[in-house]
């Protein structure tokens, strides 16, 4: 099947999902990000790659942090950035998604960064742009429903490669609400594509999808067992709204079984790193002693995230 993210030369024109992207493209993004990292140490923290281009941040779902990192990334590439708070404007007045897109095309957008509560919304936009002959506009998925969050997946891979040097001999555990997590899905596809031999999913039955085995992931319900000898521990945010449903008894109960404490972390390798996509719920999925401890690389993830988003935007803009 044709991958809508690639042009006829196999080059990346949209970033919608990590699923289906070849290893070479992922590696190219990570390598390029390494070059962008040094820019923040300079007197002028900008490069002229996207000078004269307009990047539109379309956040149909709130996320200050992700929007901010995309905005910084675009500005460091010298692009003009427009933040549209769609939830409070046109959509609220009843405009359809594609009408909004058509309007923005007429404002000479060069790139859309899209966050949407519905899985597949960025695909719909990319498909629409092709149909109306505007596939010169690039689409970056900044998180769609439960489906994918590819730049988070890539920055997680950058972080792992930075601290562990390669992917070939790693044991990586993803802990928490994997069922509702687009981050987990993107991480699993990226880890598999980059050749990580062992990916583990740890969580209660009610928060794990049923197709993990098919994705090559080993399932654990006991955290003490799952963390044993891991090199990388990726904690997921427990969304509060899950607590209201019948999925979990209470935050305290969850922390007792699946919260990362120093004692549980001691079961992983001594040099294991702890990651979290943020924002963290201290005392729910992670103990403060771990979040602020020497093995946490959570703030490094944020810094790397900007460089990775710069790499994605500049590669897309050049193809």
């Amino acid at each position: 099947m044709h991958n809508p993210q690639l042009n006829s030369n196999g080059e990346l024109i949209h970033l919608l999902s990590i699923e289906g992207l070849p290893r070479g493209i992922l590696t190219h993004i990570l390598d390029t990000a390494a070059s962008f990292l040094g820019i923040t140490d300079r007197e002028v923290k900008k490069v002229p790659l996207l000078r004269g281009k307009s990047v539109f941040n379309l956040f149909f779902e709130n996320s200050t942090r992700t929007r901010t990192t995309f905005e910084i990334a675009a500005k460091r590439l010298s692009a003009d950035v427009l933040n549209l708070d769609i939830t409070r404007s046109s959509t609220a007045k009843g405009e359809t998604l594609l009408d909004t897109i058509d309007n923005l095309c007429s404002m000479h957008a060069d790139m859309f960064v899209v966050r949407h509560a519905s899985s597949g919304a960025p695909y719909l936009i990319a498909d629409h742009l092709k149909r109306v002959g505007r596939d010169d506009i690039h689409v970056v998925n900044a998180g769609d429903g439960r489906h994918a969050h590819p730049t988070q997946g890539l920055l997680d891979m950058y972080t792992i490669r930075h601290f562990k040097k390669n992917f070939e001999n790693l044991r990586v555990a993803i802990v928490g609400d994997i069922l509702h997590s687009r981050v987990a899905r993107s991480d699993i596809h990226a880890l598999t594509t980059l050749g990580v031999p062992e990916v583990r999913a740890i969580g209660p039955q009610t928060l794990l999808p049923t197709d993990l085995g098919r994705m090559g992931v080993q399932v654990y319900h006991d955290m003490n067992e799952g963390l044993r000898d891991c090199d990388v521990v990726i904690m997921l945010r427990l969304q509060n709204e899950r607590m209201n449903g019948a999925l979990l008894p209470s935050a305290g109960e969850y922390f007792k079984h699946y919260g990362l404490t120093p004692a549980k972390l001691a079961l992983a390798k001594p040099d294991a790193i702890v990651m979290h996509p943020g924002p963290m719920n201290r005392g729910v999925e992670i103990d403060s002693a771990v979040a602020d401890g020497p093995q946490a690389v959570i703030l490094d993830q944020v810094t790397f995230g900007i460089a990775v988003r710069m790499a994605v935007m500049s590669i897309l803009a050049g193809n």
Binding site: H28, S35, L37, G38, E43, A317, N319
Partner: protein, 170 residues
């Protein structure tokens, strides 16, 4: 068309000749910045020959190219590394081949995003003419003319030895 000039000159000898040109004009605040990849190798070589106390800066101009819109991002970008403060320094930009001058323009733009050097000079092994911008080398050891489709590149073998290669792009 035959490719002039055969045999190709010894690039290592040319590096020594380039160092001889630079040596009498060295000042205590001189620093080298080599442009990836050929210029970076030459800058490292010059650094040894001139016994400079500092490591040479290495610059990748991919983010400053003027053909980004047509060609996209270079598939192999390397991090620019300038291990000293460029403010007030006398810099010598080092490249293997000077041709249209566009690479030099991009490198100058990038350098100035690091600060304001006191002066910038340009040292190249080869100048093949056909300039498209007002750029001239300060130090150059080999002037030559080549047909447009001919590509002159510097290579480095596994022992670190530099040598020239000429290829025809039909």
């Amino acid at each position: 068309m035959t490719l002039p000039p055969f045999p190709l000159p010894d690039a290592e000898a040319q590096c020594r000749a380039l160092a001889d040109l630079i040596r009498p004009r060295l000042t205590p605040d001189t620093a080298l910045v080599g442009i990836y990849s050929g210029g970076a190798w030459i800058a490292e070589r010059l650094s040894q020959l001139l016994q400079l106390p500092e490591e040479a800066g290495l610059i990748d101009i991919s983010f400053y190219r003027d053909d980004f819109a047509e060609k996209g991002l270079h598939p192999q970008v390397r991090p620019t590394q300038i291990p000293f403060d460029v403010n007030g320094r006398r810099l010598i930009l080092v490249d293997d081949v000077l041709y249209t001058g566009r690479t030099t323009r991009a490198a100058l733009n990038e350098l100035f995003d690091y600060g304001r050097p006191a002066a910038v000079e340009l040292a190249v092994l080869a100048d093949r003419g056909e300039r498209e911008l007002p750029v001239a080398p300060t130090y150059c050891v080999w002037n030559l003319e080549l047909p447009r489709q001919t590509c002159l590149t510097l290579g480095r073998d596994e022992t670190g030895l530099l040598s020239w290669r000429v290829e025809d792009h039909a």
